[in-house]
C-alpha cells in the first residue's frame, strides 16, 4: 500500500518538486505517527533505564545486544570477538546512559556510535600489539571476492566483499543497509554530515558493485 501511495504521489506531483519533499511525500501519515510513537516509547524506556530500572535496562539489552553483535560480526568475522565487543558496548551503554540526551534521534544511533568507537580502538590496540587484525582473516577465507553468487548475498559473501571497502564505506553499508539507520543517524554515528553520508553511500555501493561484478561499470 505504501508503494502504491508513493507512485500515486509521483504521478500527481510536478517533477520540479524538491527531492526531500518527494521523499517525505512517500511517508504516509501512519508511518510518521508510528515512527514518532516508537521514538517516544524508546525514550520512556531510556528514561527508566537512566534510573537504573532493571526491567528497562534488560529490555534495552535484549534489543541491542544482538544488533551490536551482528554489526561487530559483519566487520570482524570472529564470533568470540564480536560477542566480547557486544558485551563491552552494553557495559559502556549502562555506565554512560546518564549522558544520553534525547534530541530527536534514536537511542540506537548513540549505542552504535559507542560500538563504532570501540571497534576502532580494538583494531588500533591489536595493531599495536602486533596481533592479527581480525578483519584480515576474512581475506584469506576466500581470496576471490568475485566468486560471489549473482542473486541474494549470503552473510559470509557480504563480509568478504566488505573487507575490500574502505573503513568508511564499510560503515555506511552496514549502518545504512543492514542496520537500517537513516542518513542523519548514520552521520551522527560516524561524525559526518548528512551530505557526506549521501556521497559515501553512492561511492560505497559503487565500490561494492565493482567487487562483486568487476565486469560492470557503475
Amino acid at each position: 500500500m505504501r508503494a502504491v501511495a508513493w507512485s500515486q504521489t509521483l504521478t500527481s506531483l510536478p517533477k520540479e518538486r524538491k527531492p526531500d519533499v518527494v521523499a517525505q511525500q512517500a511517508t504516509t501519515d501512519d508511518d510518521a505517527v508510528r515512527k514518532q510513537a516508537e521514538l517516544n516509547t524508546e525514550w520512556e524506556l531510556v528514561r527508566r533505564a537512566q534510573s537504573f530500572d532493571n526491567d528497562a535496562i534488560h529490555e534495552l539489552y535484549e534489543k541491542y545486544f544482538p544488533k551490536i553483535y551482528n554489526y561487530a560480526f559483519m566487520q570482524m568475522g570472529d564470533v568470540q570477538a564480536a560477542e566480547d565487543l557486544a558485551s563491552d558496548v552494553m557495559l559502556k551503554m549502562i555506565e554512560s546512559i546518564n549522558k544520553y540526551t534525547f534530541r530527536g534521534l534514536p537511542f540506537g544511533a548513540w549505542v552504535f556510535r559507542i560500538a563504532r568507537n570501540r571497534l576502532i580502538d580494538l583494531h588500533r590496540r591489536r595493531k599495536r600489539r602486533g596481533e592479527v587484525d581480525l578483519s584480515e582473516t576474512l581475506s584469506t577465507a576466500l581470496a576471490n571476492p568475485q566468486a560471489l553468487a549473482e542473486r541474494a548475498l549470503e552473510r559470509g559473501q557480504l563480509q568478504i566483499a566488505l573487507k575490500h571497502l574502505t573503513e568508511e564505506q564499510r560503515q555506511v553499508i552496514v549502518l545504512k543497509f543492514i542496520e537500517g539507520f537513516d542518513n542523519r543517524s548514520v552521520g551522527r554515528i560516524m561524525g559526518r554530515s548528512e551530505g557526506a553520508i549521501k556521497s559515501l553511500q553512492h561511492r560505497a555501493l559503487g565500490a561494492l558493485r565493482r567487487i562483486i561484478h568487476p565486469e560492470d561499470r557503475y
Partner: protein, 629 residues
C-alpha cells in the same frame, strides 16, 4: 527542467525504499537514470536482505550477568556513603565547607575499605579496581597539609605520578586511561588555584609551567593512543596545559587555545618560515597560523628554518602550538626499523646498534626480542637517544608501508586534506609530519610520501620534500611486492598500490612475492608503469634493518649517520650520488664488526640539505651502480 545530480536521485530512491517503495517504483520515477539506478538499487536491496548473524543465547545470557553485576554496583553507588547535610548537598553552603566534606568522604571511603586494601592500592594502575582507593588515599594526604606551597608541590608530584601511569599503560599496549588523565587534570587545577593565591611564588610558578610543558609534550605525542570517544576530554586537558603556559602558570591565558582546535590531529612541520601577513605564515609552503597562542613564537624570524608543532582543526587549517626549534639545516631525526636483538629498561639493540632510552622516550607497546620495531632516533645534548619506539607494521597482517616519490600537482598551500602526487591522490590528514627542509611543498615539488593503502585510499603518514623542483615526472615506489592483481595483464600490487609492469620486464624476472623492492615508474595514461626495480629484501633472505638518516660524513665505504656508522661496501647497490648532508635510506644486516653492513642504499636528495661540520674527502665512493671505481 531542474537538473538533479545522480547522487541525489540515488539517495532519494534509497530513502524511499527504506519506507517501502520498490525498485520498480523508483525506475518509473526516473526512467532516464534507470540503467544506472537499477544495479545500484538491486544491490542495495540484496544487501538489506542479508540475514543477520545469530548471537549465541549462552553468550547473550553471560553478557547479561555482567550487566547485572555492574548494575548492582551502580545502584549502590547511588546510595550516599554517609549522610551529607543538605546544606552541602543542595549547594547552599559556605564555600569552605565543601572541601572539608569531600575530604571527609575520602577518609570514610578509605576507612571503609580497610588499611590492608589501602596498602595494596598504592601500586594500583588505572585499570585496577583499587585505583580509586589509591586516588582517595592521595586526597586524604593532601587534605592534612596546611601549608599551601607544600600542598601545591604534593599535588604536582601526584600529577606527575599520573603521567607516569599513563606512560606505563600505553607502554603495555593499552589506550590512554581516562581516569588517570582526569585525576592528573584535577591535581593540576588545584595546584594552579594555589598559585593564583600566591602570584609572587616564582618557584612554584616555574615548576607549574615546566611541568605543564612536559605533560603537554607527552600528551601530544600520545595523541594516536587516545580512544576516539575520549578525544574531546583529551583535547580539553591538552588545551588547559597549553593555556597554563601561555598564562604564566595560572591557566588563565589572555588568548586561549580552544580544545576543538586540536580535533584534526597533531603534526610537526620543518622548513623555512615566511610571513604572509599578520599571523599568517608559510612554513615550507604550508599555510600555518602563528599567533599569541603559539609558544616561543617571538623567536621566529621570517626566512629562518624552523620546526613547528602544529594542530590541525576540523576544517583542515593548521595552527602552530609551539615553535620547537630554530635551526639552519641541522639533522633532526633519524629512523631505524628492524628486529629487536636485546631490550632493557635502558635501551634497545637493533642490528648491533645500541639505542639508549632517556626519560622522554615514548614506547607505545611492550617490546620483546625478535619483534620488529620502528625507532625514531633523535639528537640530544646527551647524544643519540630513542625518541619513540613502536611496533612495526611488518608484525601484523595489516597493510605494508609504501614510500612513493613523485611530483606535487596543484596548489596544496591552503587547508586541503588531499594532495595529488604524480597522479595519485593521498589523504594527508593522518600524517604526523611534513619535512620541507629541502624546499617548499608546492606545485611542482618532488616529495616522498610514506603511506599505507586502505581500500582505495592512500593515507599519508609522513611527507618529505626532496626538492622544490622535480627534475622530471618519474616516480619511485618503495614497498612490498604483494603479488599479481592480474598476471596475464602484468598488473602488480606493491604494498596495496596497483601498478603495471612494463612489457620489457620478462616474467621470469618478476620479484618474488613478499619482497621489498624499489621500483622506477612513470605515468602512462591512467596507469603507473614500472620500468625497472631493485630487490632489497626477500622473504627467504636475511631480515634486514632499515636506517633512514643524514650522511654526516664519509670515509670511503664507511658513512656516518646520526645513529652511528654504516658500512656500504662496493658490492652494495647504491642509488643516487653519495655526499655528506644528503638524506639516505640504507638496508643492511649486522656486520661481523657490529656495524650495519649495507646491501642497498638510496640517496634521497640531489643536493645536500643540511650543513655538516666537516667534509673529509672520500678515497673510495661507490658510484650509482654500486661498482667500485
Amino acid at each position: 527542467m531542474v537538473f538533479r545530480r545522480y547522487e541525489s536521485i540515488l539517495a532519494e530512491c534509497i530513502d524511499a525504499m527504506h519506507l517501502g517503495a520498490t525498485v520498480e517504483d523508483c525506475l518509473e520515477r526516473y526512467p532516464q537514470q534507470a540503467n544506472r539506478l537499477r544495479p545500484a538499487l538491486l544491490l542495495a536491496e540484496r544487501v538489506s536482505q542479508t540475514p543477520p548473524a545469530q548471537v549465541r543465547p549462552s553468550a547473550q545470557a553471560a553478557g547479561w550477568k555482567k550487566i547485572e553485576k555492574r548494575l548492582t554496583e551502580l545502584q549502590s553507588a547511588k546510595q550516599p556513603v554517609m549522610y551529607v547535610p543538605s546544606a552541602i548537598r543542595g549547594g547552599n553552603y559556605m564555600g569552605w565547607l565543601k572541601p572539608v566534606a569531600i575530604s571527609a568522604i575520602a577518609i570514610l571511603t578509605v576507612s571503609a575499605v580497610g588499611g590492608g586494601t589501602v596498602l595494596a592500592a598504592q601500586s594500583a594502575m588505572p585499570s585496577s579496581p583499587l585505583y580509586r582507593v589509591k586516588l582517595a588515599g592521595e586526597d586524604v594526604r593532601v587534605w592534612f597539609i596546611t601549608d599551601d606551597t607544600h600542598k601545591a608541590n604534593v599535588l604536582l608530584d601526584q600529577s606527575r605520578q599520573r603521567m607516569e601511569e599513563i606512560n606505563d599503560t600505553v607502554k603495555d599496549g593499552d589506550a590512554v586511561p581516562e581516569n588517570a588523565l582526569s585525576a592528573m587534570e584535577d591535581r593540576n587545577r588545584s595546584a594552579f588555584e594555589i598559585l593564583q593565591g600566591q602570584p609572587e611564588n616564582t618557584e612554584l610558578r616555574a615548576r607549574i609551567i615546566s611541568q605543564a610543558a612536559e605533560q603537554e609534550d607527552r600528551l601530544l605525542a600520545l595523541w594516536q593512543e587516545v580512544p576516539i570517544d575520549a578525544h574531546d576530554s583529551y583535547a580539553e586537558v591538552v588545551a588547559e596545559l597549553h593555556n597554563t603556559q601561555l598564562g604564566g602558570g595560572t591557566g588563565a591565558a589572555v588568548a586561549a587555545l580552544q580544545p576543538e582546535e586540536l580535533t584534526g590531529g597533531i603534526l610537526t612541520i620543518s622548513g623555512q618560515a615566511q610571513n604572509t601577513g599578520g599571523d599568517q605564515w608559510q612554513v615550507g609552503g604550508v599555510d600555518v597560523r602563528i599567533d599569541d597562542q603559539t609558544l616561543n613564537r617571538t623567536m621566529l624570524q621570517a626566512g629562518a628554518s624552523a620546526t613547528v608543532l602544529v594542530a590541525r582543526s576540523s576544517n583542515g587549517r593548521y595552527h602552530a602550538l609551539n615553535l620547537t626549534s630554530i635551526d639552519v639545516g641541522s639533522p633532526s631525526s633519524a629512523f631505524v626499523s628492524g628486529a629487536v636483538e636485546e631490550v632493557t629498561d635502558d635501551g634497545v639493540r637493533i642490528a648491533g646498534q645500541w639505542i639508549p632510552f632517556d626519560s622522554d622516550t615514548l614506547q607505545t607497546a611492550a617490546i620483546r626480542p625478535g619483534q620488529k620495531v620502528s625507532v625514531v632516533v633523535k639528537n640530544t645534548s646527551n647524544g643519540v637517544v630513542a625518541g619513540q619506539v613502536s611496533p612495526s607494521s611488518a608484525n601484523s597482517n595489516g597493510p605494508e608501508t609504501l614510500w612513493f616519490e613523485g611530483t606535487i600537482q596543484g596548489d596544496i598551500s591552503r587547508a586541503t586534506s588531499r594532495w595529488t602526487v604524480s597522479g595519485l591522490e593521498f589523504d594527508i590528514t593522518p600524517s604526523k609530519g611534513f619535512d620541507t627542509r629541502a624546499g617548499s611543498a608546492a606545485n611542482g615539488a618532488r616529495v616522498q610520501i610514506e603511506a599505507i593503502a586502505n581500500g582505495n585510499e592512500l593515507l599519508a603518514q609522513r611527507v618529505t620534500v626532496l626538492s622544490s623542483k622535480a627534475p622530471g615526472d618519474t616516480s619511485t615506489i618503495i614497498g612490498t611486492f604483494d603479488g599479481y592483481i592480474s598476471k596475464q595483464e602484468g598488473i602488480w600490487s606493491i604494498s596495496g598500490l596497483p601498478v603495471t609492469a612494463s612489457p620489457d620486464i620478462p616474467d621470469e624476472d618478476d620479484p618474488p612475492e613478499g619482497a621489498l623492492i624499489i621500483a622506477d615508474a612513470h605515468r602512462q595514461g591512467n596507469d603507473l608503469v614500472v620500468s625497472a626495480f631493485t630487490v632489497v629484501e626477500t622473504p627467504s633472505g636475511p631480515s634486514l634493518v632499515q636506517v633512514e638518516g643524514t650522511i654526516l660524513e664519509t670515509h670511503g665505504s664507511r658513512w656516518t649517520l646520526e645513529i652511528g656508522q654504516v658500512h656500504v661496501p662496493s658490492t652494495s647497490k647504491v642509488i643516487g650520488k653519495v655526499e655528506s648532508g644528503k638524506r639516505v635510506i640504507v638496508w643492511g644486516t649486522r656486520g661481523d664488526d657490529g656495524i650495519i653492513e649495507g646491501t642497498v642504499a638510496r640517496i634521497l636528495d640531489d643536493t645536500p640539505i643540511v650543513q655538516v661540520q666537516s667534509e673529509p674527502t672520500p678515497t673510495q665512493v661507490p658510484d650509482v651502480t654500486g661498482a667500485a671505481p
